[in-house]
Symmetry: C2
DNA sequence: CCACAAATATTTAAGGTTAAAATATTGTGG
DNA sequence: CCACAATATTTTAACCTTAAATATTTGTGG
């Protein structure tokens, strides 16, 4: 399907098809990237305006909110899909702001357990409600059915890309 | 739950554990974000390994390649969706590397015209071929029809989000 | 012509990001 | 017990990114 090939099919062959596919995938990727950038820019801007915070800070707290038992630095780094050194810096800030704590782990003194503080939980719950509102508004251009379609297509993409290994 | 099983692969990204029915848009957004991050990580890694360059550098050159007449700094910044100060730094590097030039514009001495050099065009053409190859492999998990569906859904999303204004 | 707003680009300060090196702890085989 | 690999985190250097402040030039109304 969709290999109509407006060009002279005098030799409709492998090369032609590969070339078409290249352009399709590339255009799809660029569109996906700009969509994500647009949404992300909105959210960053709102986090800054409304809560004087940043997306990585928010993201780290969101991970901890889903894991009340606490997470190690390395777990945070994997879940946030950033490198470990990065988590160190962001955690330092949040500790300084009193929103998270590093708890010593007597079982393994290499690894902390990072948790939200009481204040961190309180603050994050407020933020999360408003954050979800922004997201809902940003995706209002799609209907229920479209959202589900998009969700499912992205599931397939994610699974495939994830299966290719971390990318050396 | 209190014991982090070592065997569980644990997808480990933005998307884990948001299973409430009423949070469709949020889940969709988190999935979209992690898809984009996965693909982007692959590409950054390859650009670094294969060409010792970075995504912003590559992106700037890609914009110039599509506009042989040259672009002003501000145009680059809009197309790349980054702030102007950013483009200054990346352009400085590429000029130092001999891949782009700032041409003085006698019509308006506020604005340069930035273009690829001959060497820049040569190098970018090589890079672009391989870059397209990476992208097509990353999206091979989707069929033709699925790619088209995804492309169209993202078009709707992009148009809607774009219509909301810049947000601040 | 002149004052001044608008447009363009750069600089600055603060923070996010990475890969690689360094540090510290744990576990294991000999 | 000891050497040594594996694990967990931090540090470092380089780069990307932003928002705000600073020139510089252009255009316009008076």
């Amino acid at each position: 399907m969709s290999k109509p090939s407006k060009t002279a099919p005098q030799r409709s062959d492998h090369e032609t098809r590969v070339t078409d596919d290249h352009h399709e995938s590339l255009r799809l990727w660029l569109r996906m990237l700009s969509c994500t950038n647009l949404v992300e820019a909105h959210i960053r801007s709102q986090l800054r305006l409304r809560f004087q915070t940043t997306l990585p800070r928010f993201d780290l707290m969101a991970q901890l909110e889903r894991h009340p038992e606490g997470l190690k630095m390395g777990e945070l780094s994997r879940r946030m899909m950033v490198t470990g050194g990065n988590v160190t810096g962001i955690t330092d800030q949040l500790v300084a702001e009193g929103l998270v704590v590093r708890e010593d782990n007597p079982k393994d003194r290499r690894a902390y357990i990072v948790k939200l503080t009481k204040e961190g939980r309180r603050v994050f719950r407020e933020w999360a409600v408003e954050h979800e509102d922004w997201v809902i508004r940003l995706f209002e251009g799609l209907g229920e059915k479209e959202k589900k379609q998009l969700y499912d297509l992205l599931a397939r993409l994610k699974q495939f890309v994830g299966s290719l290994g971390t990318g050396n």
